[in-house]
């Protein structure tokens, strides 16, 4: 065969291949881009918890989602990774409360009792192997906190034990909805001495409720309740 003619065929073949690759990649990319574009604002606003994602294209798709919540210079990233072969559906689970909880535990001190401004930054990295990488980013400013919406210590009853001491029954109630199912610990400071740490778990509504009986000296008649969530401890003074 004439080498020039063979060269001509090679060029034609490579053009044909590049057109096929171009069409497949552009189609796959456009489909993924429209899907991402459709759901990204909803993720940023925390409106969706589960997003169906189907790889309608012809190329294997890898998706990396990173949600970053920034409060007072502290940034808490939450990352998720998905691999979706062509034609396969998957669900992207992003529960805003999970993201918030994880983020808030890291910045607990800032948001425990105050409302603070937070930036929610969502980035989606979709890799259509091996030709295109799509990065979509959206950011919004919001307010988070206060985390602890209710904190109450009630003296339910006092009984005299003897001339110098009384027995007091205390009910401690704390509500922190975003900290549902997290582990807490507490101890009491009675007559200036701390008791052993006790552990408890917030229920699914983020409520913690416990009752303690303490014997107090009539001279002091005050008790401190120290409650800790992760590294944040709060001491509540109670006059009896």
């Amino acid at each position: 065969m004439d080498p020039w003619k063979a060269g001509r065929y090679v060029i034609l073949l490579s053009r044909l291949c590049s057109i096929i690759i171009l069409v497949i990649t552009i189609y796959s990319g456009a489909v993924i881009l429209s899907d991402i574009y459709g759901v990204l604002p909803s993720i940023t606003e925390g409106k969706v918890t589960s997003i169906p994602l189907k790889n309608r294209g012809f190329l294997p798709l890898t998706v990396d989602i990173k949600v970053t919540i920034g409060v007072k210079g502290n940034e808490v990233p939450i990352e998720k990774h998905y691999e979706v072969p062509p034609g396969v559906s998957t669900r992207i689970e992003i529960k805003p409360e999970d993201v918030m909880r994880e983020a808030l535990l890291s910045i607990l001190e800032d948001v425990a009792y105050d409302k603070v401004q937070a930036n929610v930054h969502v980035s989606v990295l979709a890799f259509l192997e091996p030709f295109i990488t799509l990065t979509a980013e959206a950011e919004r400013s919001t307010y988070v906190g206060p985390l602890i919406t209710k904190q109450q210590v009630i003296v339910e009853g006092i009984e005299p034990v003897n001339l110098t001491h009384v027995k007091a029954k205390l009910r401690v109630s704390i509500v922190a909805p975003l900290l549902a199912d997290t582990r807490w610990k507490y101890r009491l400071w009675v007559n200036g001495n701390p008791t052993e740490w006790s552990e408890l778990k917030a229920n699914e509504r983020g409520e913690v409720d416990f009752v303690e009986e303490v014997i107090l000296s009539v001279d002091t008649r005050s008790v401190k309740v120290e409650v800790c969530i992760e590294n944040l401890c709060k001491v509540i003074n109670v006059g009896v």
Partner: protein, 129 residues
């Protein structure tokens, strides 16, 4: 006269396909992407070289024109696709598309065509000498 008209038609068709249709499509589909300002003169050069190669069809210099056209077309693709990294600001979403591997796949046949045509032009020119 017919040759000149055919060449002009080829140049116009080239310009229509590589520049006019894509720009019209981008604006009609509301895709917030604009071709670089340098894309326009390069598109004119590509179209003109397409016309010239049509005019020179059958002559040795046609290969040189073809090779040059492919080289400029590669440059045009590189400029139009912003070197393979496109950034689109769509309302509140910022989209970055890194398509460098795809750009290489698209440009490769054009570069191959450039080499082929220049090689053929050189061989034929030397044979003549």
């Amino acid at each position: 006269m017919k040759k000149v008209l055919l060449s002009l038609a080829r140049a116009a068709l080239d310009f229509l396909v590589i520049y006019l249709i894509p720009t019209v499509l981008l604006s009609s589909l509301s895709i917030p992407y604009q071709f670089s300002a340098t894309a326009f003169p390069i598109a004119i050069i590509v179209a003109a070289l397409g016309g010239v190669s049509m005019y020179l069809k059958g002559k040795t210099s046609c290969f040189a024109a073809n090779g040059l056209r492919s080289a400029f077309f590669s440059l045009y693709l590189f400029v139009v696709l912003s070197g393979g990294v496109i950034t689109l600001a769509m309302k509140s979403v910022l989209v970055t598309i890194n398509m460098l591997p795809l750009l290489i796949v698209i440009i490769f046949p054009e570069l191959l065509n450039t080499v082929y045509n220049f090689a053929r032009w050189l061989v034929l020119t030397r044979k003549k000498e």
